[in-house]
Amino acid sequence: MSWAQKRDWVKTDRDVYLEIGTDLMRFATVLVGPSDASDLVSTVVTRVLARRRLTDLDEPKRYLMQAVANEAKNVRRHRSRRRSALARLGDPGHAPGAGEGRYPDLTAAVMRLPSKQRAAIYLVYWVGMAPSEAATQMGCRPATLRRYLSLARAKLRRFVDEG
């Protein structure tokens, strides 16, 4: 095998990033909304790269998605502070996703869910993971994940009943 062939065969950090990036962006968008998703993913990947290669991770997708979920809490916290500040200045603000899309109320209701509940319904009902798999992905116990799903379902019951 030539050097050129081999080098093409060896996966690089960039390869890993491109391979899982779309999934990360989707997950990040669900967690923090489209306006902060890029920053969230950039922050997480940069932070990980400062410590290790993506190619060294056993399960880079799972690792990075967990990191995205963890970092999302900070994004939401900062945004909450920002909204509070804007509110004091008279800016009404709005929940991410509110007023967007064909189902603005529903989308806004989902975006108001706590991020773990939102992550849970995304992984199970959108990505199609089994609850146990989603639990592993989120780094929690299956029972905990089922609780997240149950709470989310309760909060969205109105839409389920209407549907």
Partner: protein, 403 residues
Amino acid sequence: MRDERFASVVEEALTPLLEGVPGLPEWSEITDPPVARSEGMSGLRGWTVAAVAVSVVLAVAGAMVLGLGSFDDGREASVPTLTDDPNDTVTTSEVATSEVVGLSVSAATVRPAPVPEERRPLGSGSFVTQIDDDLRARIASAATEATAIWRLSEPIRVVVAVQRAGSHYAFVSGAENRRGLIAVDGEGNLGLLRYIAPASDVAIWYTRLVDSFPFLQLVWLDLPDSVAWATISTPERLDGVGPQRVVGDAVFIGMAKPSWNQTATLTAFDASGAIVETREVDVDGGGCSASREIPFPPENPDLPTAVQETRVSLTLASVLCDFSGLSDSADASSDLFGVGVDDVAAFLREEDRERPVMEWIRATLRDGEPTRSPDGSQFTWSGDMLEITIGGDGVWLGARIVG
């Protein structure tokens, strides 16, 4: 059980959101984030950023440094002043003494008053010795025991160190011998070092390693007299560790981890805390895929000395990310990689950005018996990724892809 009705609601809710997923940030934005550059570099004559060194520090110490030295927000706020320390005295010339493997190493130097251990960012409290033949001999002697090397892990900077001792390669660096490095002992205390600039007053920083913890150090030389300490900040705020005090006319500024190829802001203060100068420098972390690895290949008495020395040399160079050093060991007439490489150093540097070639070199040479050609003129190590051949005369003949 999956609730299809609820699934449908979730799908309806997320569809508009996921239809608006922004594009993935470019890889180049991740690996080379844009950094605002300030103006005013021209006013910094007399400041020299001597080099960047990557070494490995004790994990506990690293955590301590992070906790104490990191800037939460802004620079001055968390910078202790000299007067915070009751032991702080005016820095004067004195004869510094340090116990190194039972030897008292004395040299004319300038040494700051000791900073309490708990407040000491890595690097502070070091001192510079003037090397002389006597010191060189004593250090060489000290290196004959692994524990001696360990004790050299005290924050001591020397201009020249040791070569080889017993089954260990303790090392040396100097303007005339850029290859520098390392020592190992039986308890896992491994000192990993990196030379600084070959043309400069070479600095060697001995550290010990319990767990990998990359550490970056900037050195400024020729500071104005009024500078008392300096700090560093990077786009990733937590990288900054400071402040660092002036030792002689230089200051060593530690960073908890290498920020590869970023721009760092360096700020120098006088004793009152007033900023004397600031500047921005491009920080080339200098790392590569092998830089966190321990280099030593085992002794092999069956190998010709020249072959073993080249093996060690290549291994050390890979860990030091010394692309030029690897190039120097190569046979200029051979097609080392089989792809028509003219500039071996540039090729390796470029390749290693994409894939861990330096680590392949290190790993290939680390273990295992080489295959000896019938006439004994070539020795080839076969690793998972590479096949590396060293001539019987110690010339690096080739690195080929396995397969």
